[in-house]
């Protein structure tokens, strides 16, 4: 329970951060050319100044900026993110519709990067400075330098155009209505390439950290003790080293959550996935500032939640954290 209160305290500490972000971005967006009503009028094909004034009054845009900010924050407390004039419905429901593909994509990429980063990191550390290590480390460097959108495009060329193994975009096949297990398989096949694309750079980061952390732990005294008492090497690695070497990896999940969300903007655009990232891109292009602000809120919230989960996970892996309080 102590760990829960510790993580809870950190969660509470992130609320001011959240408000700081929202106030900052809100003020920033006031400097943007054009407001919701301009976008709305453009959507309707123009209109006269009188109706524009009326609309501004309706949306509360005729108030002073501090008043608007106060209004916005007060609505936010009630989880009302405002109205998207482009999509013609509340921002909250627009975002909720777009959230599942992004969360699915992020979870899949994270699992992919974490698992293979761990495996390759361990292999590299076990054969340090021999050919498996050199090969894996070199590949890691190259993956790190690969622009994800470019990798995605090349993957489409190879796997969708030439080999025709996988679909080149979209979240599911809309031509045929499917249900149950077939739908799951269909969605999964659509997510293979996006997952690889988004996960690649994180795979590179994870394997590098895992390798370094394995090498560090392998030199510690308790590993020598474990070896001295006659445990075989597999046992030493899986039971003694891995658990300790995992700690930096878990920390990294929290640190990289934001980067991953940012990366999904690009990856979702490449594979035309109807997710949060693509929504962010669309709202910039369409000047839907209300939605953009809503996305800022939700993505910051997502990062905070991921960090909360990481805190809990961290304590589970390392009981010493709990003892210190």
């Amino acid at each position: 329970m102590r760990i829960l209160s510790l993580a809870g305290r950190r969660l509470a500490a992130s609320i001011p951060t959240l408000f700081l972000i929202l106030i900052g971005v809100f003020l920033l967006l006031q400097m943007a050319p054009g407001d919701t009503v301009d976008a709305l009028m453009a959507q309707m094909g123009g209109g006269d100044a009188a109706s524009a004034r009326e609309l501004r009054q309706f949306y509360g845009l005729d108030l002073s900026i501090p008043m608007q900010l106060a209004n916005y924050l007060w609505r936010l407390v009630r989880l009302d993110l405002g109205f998207s004039s482009i999509y013609g419905k509340p921002v909250a429901s627009v975002i909720l519709e777009r959230l599942p593909p992004t969360i699915l994509l992020m979870t899949a990429s994270l699992s992919f990067a974490f698992f293979f980063g761990l495996v390759f990191g361990v292999i590299a550390a076990r054969g340090v400075n021999r050919w498996p290590d050199t090969l894996i480390s070199t590949l890691g460097l190259i993956f790190y330098a690969t622009p994800s959108f470019w990798f995605g495009l090349m993957a489409i060329v190879v796997f969708s155009v030439y080999l025709q193994w996988l679909p080149s975009g979209g979240f599911e096949d809309i031509g045929t209505v499917q249900s149950g297990v077939w739908r799951v398989l269909d969605i999964a096949s659509h997510l293979v390439l996006p997952t690889l694309t988004l996960g690649l750079i994180f795979l590179a980061i994870y394997l590098r950290i895992m390798r370094a952390s394995m090498l560090e732990v392998l030199n510690l005294d308790f590993v020598r003790t474990a070896r001295a008492k006659g445990l075989d090497e597999t046992h030493v690695v899986t039971r003694h080293v891995l658990r300790n070497a995992l700690l930096p990896m878990v920390t990294l999940i929290g640190l990289q959550a934001g980067t991953m969300l940012g990366g999904s903007v690009v990856v979702e655009s490449v594979f035309s996935l109807p997710g949060l990232g693509r929504l962010a891109y669309e709202s910039v292009v369409q000047r839907d500032l209300n939605t953009l602000l809503g996305i800022v809120f939700v993505s910051a919230l997502l990062v905070i939640v991921v960090n909360f989960v990481v805190d809990l996970l961290y304590a589970r892996l390392d009981p010493r954290i709990q003892a210190d309080g």
Partner: protein, 276 residues
């Protein structure tokens, strides 16, 4: 010059340096080799690479020379990467130095702001900045710099925290030196090496960020940038995939070069870490 010797002993670091020099040479020679505007019409559209000696790397969908765009793109990438990194490091050092040196409420406030920047995904913030200030070369460069400063700030702060109570700093205080002089003249030179090494990471990320933005057509469309070309090639990806493929390799090589040089510098400057 031990560090220099150590640097050249690592093959990866040397390869990185060579690649970086090649990219720099491309940027410098672009003006001599291709005297025409790289974005001007040069020939028939969609000529495959190596099929016409006039266009070694072929032409894109609107008949512009890809090779010329690659050479001029090196300028843009290095320019944006370099300037954005300088901005990020400068802000990072300022914030980190004041937070680390003064501690207390200054530290609290500055770290809250840093945390806010780190909680918001930097690409999302980049989108917001571009939506507000538009996408010219200048605004994009500044925007990339502005989203990249938190990590260098934290690094600088950590260095300052460990240095601020050393004897030489206390000596400076006893001598009655002003704070700003202690920060800039005494502590900063000692805190700088790891921050400078970290600049290579910032630069690699900055180049990737700008190319992603350009790919989404949210960067300056009036300059020859690699990301722009990839975005353009996307329209003809199914058959003429080389239009996107070639600039992607250029980005990969540049980012790889910057990271290798950074890692080489790091190993050369911290020899003890290297030994394992």
């Amino acid at each position: 010059m031990d560090a220099l010797k150590r640097y050249f002993r690592s093959p990866a670091a040397v390869i990185g340096l060579i690649l970086l020099l090649v990219v720099i040479a491309m940027a410098v020679s672009a003006g001599f080799l291709y005297t025409r505007d790289p974005l001007s019409l040069a020939g028939r559209p969609l000529i495959w690479p190596f099929s016409n000696p006039r266009f070694l790397l072929g032409t894109d969908n609107s008949g512009r020379d890809i090779a010329a765009q690659i050479f001029y793109g090196a300028r843009i990438s290095l320019l944006i990467g370099g300037v954005a990194t300088a901005i990020a490091i400068l802000i990072g050092i300022l914030v980190g130095a004041f937070a680390g040196y003064y501690g207390g409420w200054v530290d609290n406030v500055l770290m809250r702001i840093t945390e806010a920047f780190q909680t918001l995904p930097n690409f999302v913030l980049l989108l917001v900045l571009v939506a507000v200030f538009g996408s010219t070369l200048t605004t994009v460069t500044i925007a990339v710099g502005v989203v990249s400063w938190p990590a260098p700030a934290r690094l600088t702060r950590a260095e300052f925290l460990s240095l601020r109570n050393r004897e030489f700093v206390q000596a400076g205080r006893t001598l009655g030196m002003r704070d700003i002089k202690i920060i800039l003249g005494e502590i900063l030179p000692n805190a700088l090496p790891p921050v400078i090494v970290y600049a290579s990471v910032v630069m690699a990320v900055a180049i990737l960020l700008e190319s992603a933005l350009a790919f989404l057509r949210l960067s300056d469309p009036n300059v020859a940038s690699w990301g722009n070309l990839i975005g353009l090639g996307r329209d003809v990806l199914r058959v003429q995939w080389y239009v996107s493929a070639i600039p992607g390799i250029a980005i990969l090589v540049t980012v790889l070069a910057v990271s290798l040089v950074g890692q080489g510098l790091n190993d050369a400057l911290n020899p003890r870490l290297k030994s394992r």
